[in-house]
């Protein structure tokens, strides 16, 4: 039984997308990626260290031919910087599937939705396929979709906080209203958080810190793989209804 998902015409089997930041070293990063089973990694675009060009590069450890690189705009606080970053990313790697995030402030790393919408429109017009980090707001999600977002990526909680899915209602409403994939981006702290996102019907989950800052990142990567699969299966299976009181599982008839 294969359960695949597609974004902008590209099909993937793993519903877990992992970041490549905050790891001890590239070896640990590559091992965690392997354990996670992820087929997509997010990467950042930064200036080359011109004083030490021989420093190891991410591409030496994670092969862009085997794993889909999803360039992001982490650290961009306005539409112009984000667009400029992604134009460079497209030139560097040739990828048009990108992750847009335009941040509003450093303290919360909450998205600036006005700038995010503007950047989405520009990128879509330039032929990019933007997957867009956003607030967990069903109306904003629709606006992004209209602007050309190929995936909606609402935060579950602030980036790097590990607080888990704070508002299940809004995530569910976004899933129900979207005709593009919805992936929870940011806020996952442990395996159960990833399972919750998937049980709400999300198409996938993106995480970085939950794996990279675990005491054993490779084991946590495996836990996340299993949690995403378990949550997806539970969603497809259709959970039981909830009752206010107990309901015995053994027959009442024939009691001695």
């Amino acid at each position: 039984m294969t359960d695949q998902w597609s974004v902008a015409g590209r099909t993937f089997t793993s519903r877990l997308i992992v970041g490549t930041g905050k790891y001890k070293d590239f070896e640990q990063n590559a091992a965690a990626l392997e354990a996670s089973g992820a087929e997509i990694v997010t990467v950042a675009v930064r200036r080359v260290n011109v004083s030490d060009p021989s420093a190891p590069m991410l591409t030496d450890y994670i092969d862009p031919k085997k794993v889909t690189y999803l360039p992001n705009t982490a650290g961009c606080f306005n539409a112009d910087d984000a667009i400029r970053t992604l134009r460079l990313a497209r030139e560097a790697g040739g990828w048009d599937l990108v992750k847009l995030e335009v941040l509003g402030e450093a303290k919360t790393l909450y998205p600036n939705m006005r700038e995010t919408l503007e950047a989405t429109e520009v990128l879509a017009k330039e032929g990019f396929l933007p997957m867009v980090y956003c607030v967990d707001d069903p109306i904003a999600a629709k606006q992004l979709e209209d602007a050309g977002a190929v995936a909606i990526m609402p935060l579950g909680a602030p980036i790097g906080s590990g607080l888990g899915i704070q508002n299940r209602v809004t995530i569910r409403l976004i899933v129900e209203g979207a005709s593009v994939p919805v992936l929870v981006d940011a806020g996952v702290g442990t395996a159960s958080d990833a399972a919750v996102a998937m049980e709400l019907g999300c198409d996938g989950v993106l995480m970085n810190t939950a794996i990279a800052e675990a005491k054993d990142p490779i084991r946590m990567a495996r836990a996340m793989k299993l949690a995403v699969e378990a949550g997806r299966d539970a969603y497809l299976a259709g959970r039981m209804g909830q009752r206010r009181y107990a309901d015995p599982s053994s027959p009442l008839a024939g009691l001695i």
Binding site: T20, V43, V48, V50, E91, L206
Partner: protein
């Protein structure tokens, strides 16, 4: 030699193409992207674009990053 701004820092470089500069820095041209005066320079034209005095260049690559 001419003066350019390379990744935000003033730098003296030899006159020539952008491809020459990238090579002289020991970088693999296939792994980087270059912006000159806020315009992307397509990789296919890096050897054809000559550096000019005062050019602002950004040479970027992919690094680890999450959200």
């Amino acid at each position: 030699m001419i003066s350019v701004i390379l990744n935000g820092e003033p730098r003296q470089v030899r006159q020539g193409s952008i491809a020459d500069l990238v090579a002289s820095l020991g970088l693999d041209v296939k792994k980087v992207a270059v912006e000159r005066n806020r315009e992307i320079v397509p990789r296919s034209t890096l050897a054809d674009v000559a550096l000019a005095e005062g050019d602002a260049l950004e040479i970027v690559h992919f690094v680890g990053g999450g959200c």
